[in-house]
Amino acid sequence: MSEKILLSIKDVSTAFKINGEYYTAIDKVSLDLHQDEVLAIVGESGSGKSTLATSIIGLHNMNATKINGEIDFNGRDILKLNESEFNQLRGNDMGMIFQDPLAALNPLMRIGDQIKETLDVHSDMTENQKNARVHELIDQVGIPNPERVARQFPHELSGGMRQRIIIAIAIANKPELIIADEPTTALDVTIQAQILDLLKDIQQENHAGIILITHDLGVVAEVADTVAVMYAGEIVEQGPVDIIFNEPKHPYTRSLLRAMPTLDTENDDLYVIEGSVPSIKKMDRNSDLFAPRIPWVPVTPGHPEIKEVAPGHLVRGENWKYFKFKDEV
């Protein structure tokens, strides 16, 4: 991990318009991503992980979305770019890996042409050079027989191969930033490990920064350098991966880790966090949003602020100091 800050998100809030009213999905998120860093964003469904990713890469329909704050990418505020300036960046300096490898490939285009599309936009290579690069990329993501695969259609490939193709598209122009939105969720476990290895290899080769969005803590432990835990659209805890796993502070992080099944648990029952993430329309931004899910803990009035408790380790609120699980009280 180098010292160069690649992406700096400052107080970014994203709100969606629902029936004419704006509802905040992400509330003042601040994050830094360095070159060569793998930053994992974890949280339940509905905690705003993907919304953050799509805010960075600009996939929101701006007719119904409001994004405030600042996202500095290599010193440029990308929220202030217009569509064509942004298109220069997307695919060239940043790439995205999608969750569902079948849906993210056009069913009617040959694999080779789909990889070539991003080369068409960003490079002035000749057709032969492009074909050579396509074969090189397919080879790089570990698929044998690139010439044949380039002529095939998505439905002729397996799920793992499709996800490799998605990765090949994302890295075609050697981007500095790769956003991986649950890249292994749709794959089975053996393929997951392969895809994660591939991502790591690519990151080391290209010196890219990766934002890895996942709800699989096993994946986080395996590949991430730093972790940001999100709940209800805000970061509740953030820090290096070993600290988050070994000395988690925030009740939510601790609950998440406790809910993860391990091989040596003797108890047959899994730990369950009570309740669920509040709906976007019912989030009261002036209260502690996680408090309703740990009702045995006394509620502190007002919205908790995020504070640095150790160098590089940020935790929201104060109640972690006296938080105990229900069965420990």
Binding site: I57, G58, L59, N61, N63, E83, S84, N87, Q88, L89, R90, G91, N92, M94, G95, M96, F98, Q99, D100, A103, A104, L105, N106, P107, L108, M109, E117, T118, V121, H122, P144, N145, Q152, F153, H155, E156, I166, I169, A170, A172
Partner: protein, 315 residues
């Protein structure tokens, strides 16, 4: 007991280990679109007959009409008026002006089919462009174009076409195409819009966006190919409808200008009661021709529709 060795002998012929399969030998391929279409036609005998009939008719009309001199279908020869079928070399007989009905039928069919084809092309091109724009961009653009279309579709288009045809002073086959074309793109726009709405929300469109593709590129490279099946089906079916519109106008006398034969004008001979009752050979061939073409096209269209939608397939 005696049979046992025999069985073993027979087993010996089967190789014990499965043959090694080379990766190169394994060809994974789904049936091509053409194969699916052919398979669907095999399942539907009526449509196959219709397709063959259509091809034969189209080829005959397209080729033969080139060899019919214009004078044959415009010159009046009162001496040969209302000749019966098969008399003095006129296979289908002659009409009121003494013109050979077979030649008239071919020349009319050529005009009618050509007009219907052009209207279909106009309708599809504008329908696809407007449908893609409204469906893809949505928002205020969508609202404006869709409200215009709503307004347009409630207009009584037959009446307006008749009025336009009457007030345009010097009109020929192209002005007629233009006027009918004005009312041919709304249905297609709606259809394309609805499909684009669902397509442009798909992940592959978003993925293409993250590659930095511009909106125009996404619309034409990503979304358009995924619309090809409904475009093919829609253009086939609207083509049949457009033949009906042109012949209706010509029948009413507001279609093609005088001197340009049309299937509609041939049928309008039946407005004379004596022709209608006792000289059926004058108008029946043209009527049958229209019925065969439009019904045939819709059979073929149904087969295409089924072939492109896996859930509806028969074979």
């Amino acid at each position: 007991m005696a049979e046992k060795p025999e069985v073993n002998e027979a087993m010996a012929g089967v190789p014990k280990t499965p043959q090694e399969i080379n990766e190169q030998d394994v060809v994974v391929s789904a049936p091509s679109t053409l194969k699916t279409v052919i398979r669907e036609f095999k399942q539907d005998k009526v449509a196959t007959v219709a397709l063959i009939l259509l091809i034969v008719l189209f080829v005959v009309v397209a080729v033969w009409s080139f060899f019919i001199p214009n004078s044959k279908v415009t010159d009046v020869n009162i001496m040969d008026q209302y000749l019966q079928m098969g008399t003095s070399g006129h296979i289908l007989g002659t009409d009121e002006q003494g013109r050979d009905l077979l030649l008239m039928l071919i020349a009319s069919a050529k005009n009618s089919l050509f007009i219907a084809l052009m209207i279909t092309i106009i309708g599809q091109v504008f329908g696809i462009i407007f449908g893609m724009i409204t469906g893809y961009f949505g928002g205020i653009v969508d609202t404006i174009i869709m409200r215009i279309i709503d307004f347009w579709t409630v207009l009584p288009f037959m009446m307006i076409i008749i009025v336009l045809v009457s007030i345009v002073s010097k009109y020929n086959i192209w002005t007629l195409i233009g006027i009918i074309g004005l009312f041919s793109w709304q249905g297609t726009t709606r259809l394309i819009r609805s499909k684009v709405l669902s397509e442009s929300d798909r992940d592959y469109v978003r993925a293409s966006k993250t590659s930095g593709s511009s909106n125009v590129m996404i619309m034409f490279r990503e979304v358009l190919p995924n619309l090809s099946s409904i475009i093919i089906v829609d253009s086939t079916l609207t083509f049949a409808g457009n033949i009906g519109i042109e012949t209706t106008l010509s029948f009413l006398g507001f279609g093609l200008p005088n001197g340009t034969p049309s299937l509609g004008t041939m049928i309008s001979a039946a407005t004379d009661p004596t022709v209608l009752v006792s000289k059926a050979y004058v108008w029946v061939p043209a009527a049958v021709f229209i019925i065969v073409i439009t019904v045939g096209i819709s059979f073929v269209g149904q087969v295409l529709r089924r072939a492109f939608d896996a859930r509806q397939r028969l074979g």
